[in-house]
Subunit: 197 residues, 2 copies
Amino acid sequence: MNEAVVLTPERILEATEDVLRRYGLTKATVVDVARALDVSHGSVYRHFPSKASLRDAVAKRWLDRANEPLCKIAAGSGPAPERLEKWLRTAFSIKQKKVCDDPEMFATYLALAQGAREVVEAYKDKQVDLIAKILSDGVAQGVFEMDDVKATARAVFDATVRYHHPAHAEEWAKPECPSRIDALIALLLRGVRVCKH
Amino acid sequence: MNEAVVLTPERILEATEDVLRRYGLTKATVVDVARALDVSHGSVYRHFPSKASLRDAVAKRWLDRANEPLCKIAAGSGPAPERLEKWLRTAFSIKQKKVCDDPEMFATYLALAQGAREVVEAYKDKQVDLIAKILSDGVAQGVFEMDDVKATARAVFDATVRYHHPAHAEEWAKPECPSRIDALIALLLRGVRVCKH
DNA sequence: TCGCTGACAGATTTCAATATCTGTCAGACA
DNA sequence: TGTCTGACAGATATTGAAATCTGTCAGCGA
């Protein structure tokens, strides 16, 4: 038995991502995936119980990859305000880059986000936890001040939907966008900082 | 000539709103509107150059009506922080009420908002101006403090998209929504207030 | 035994023929 | 004269039959 042609979930995910990229979410079928792997489509169902689960698994991989730099920033050290700003700007630019470079995958993600799929909910929760990490670091450093770190992290996340939710992606290319982001970040930072004297 | 049956733009708008409510944006046609008014569809084109302009005019009326209470709050007097909070909460509850009571019109508005139509852009600009009015009142009262009132107003507007953009309407019914709104408003108010001593 | 195939039922999508709609305009009618 | 009609061309939407897809499973071959 040739090791290279064993059908693994990993190989299926790889092929599915290719197929999604090539055909787009609406056109891609499980049959296409099977054809790309040169197996019957029944075999794919041996590893993933449904097309939806396959789609979700691909999205999860994609989101986890996109999330990695943000985890690094949250886990890092240094002054919390700078890290929060960096985190937000990185989050925005990752999304913005994706929408340009990988539009079909982004459309997939948009469809998922609008369907309020579990994968996306989990991903959002993870994002909020990362923000909370930075905020609590800031509190420990004496530069931030707030009643409820978790709730404030959610609020920061909510306040920035416009720049990370794919439903607003068309707006990201507009020329006034960077200055609006600047104003928003400034407002949010002011909202969490301790009062200066 | 009977005054009651003269075909005016106003009557056409009235009928169009009814038709939109009854059939929804995707199904409603100019022929339906003409039928409701018992005239030929050609007559409608005498008052509105296209179906899109008719749709936009209806949306404008609808938006203006929805906007009225917000204008009152912005134009009023009293402490700016309370007014800002009231303004935001009113804006959210108007939208929330509309999505329940008038779902077809709301779907129309969603389609318009996603098409980035001019009416909606104008409406958003108006909203930002109202926020700016409250913010500059607050600065005059010595309770708010910011570099650029207009930019901050935009930032407040942007920060609250999640609760006024129709793309997020499904989220508004969730049980955790009110507490998330509370946290967001608290964060934004902290962001514009002068530092306490 | 274990992983894969291929045929199958029911659901969904495609496609092309048909019907309806949008926007225009010459002419009726008051 | 000014308002409205109704017929029209081209664009768009609907429809139903045929094709394809999803998900299952009995059985094949290693």
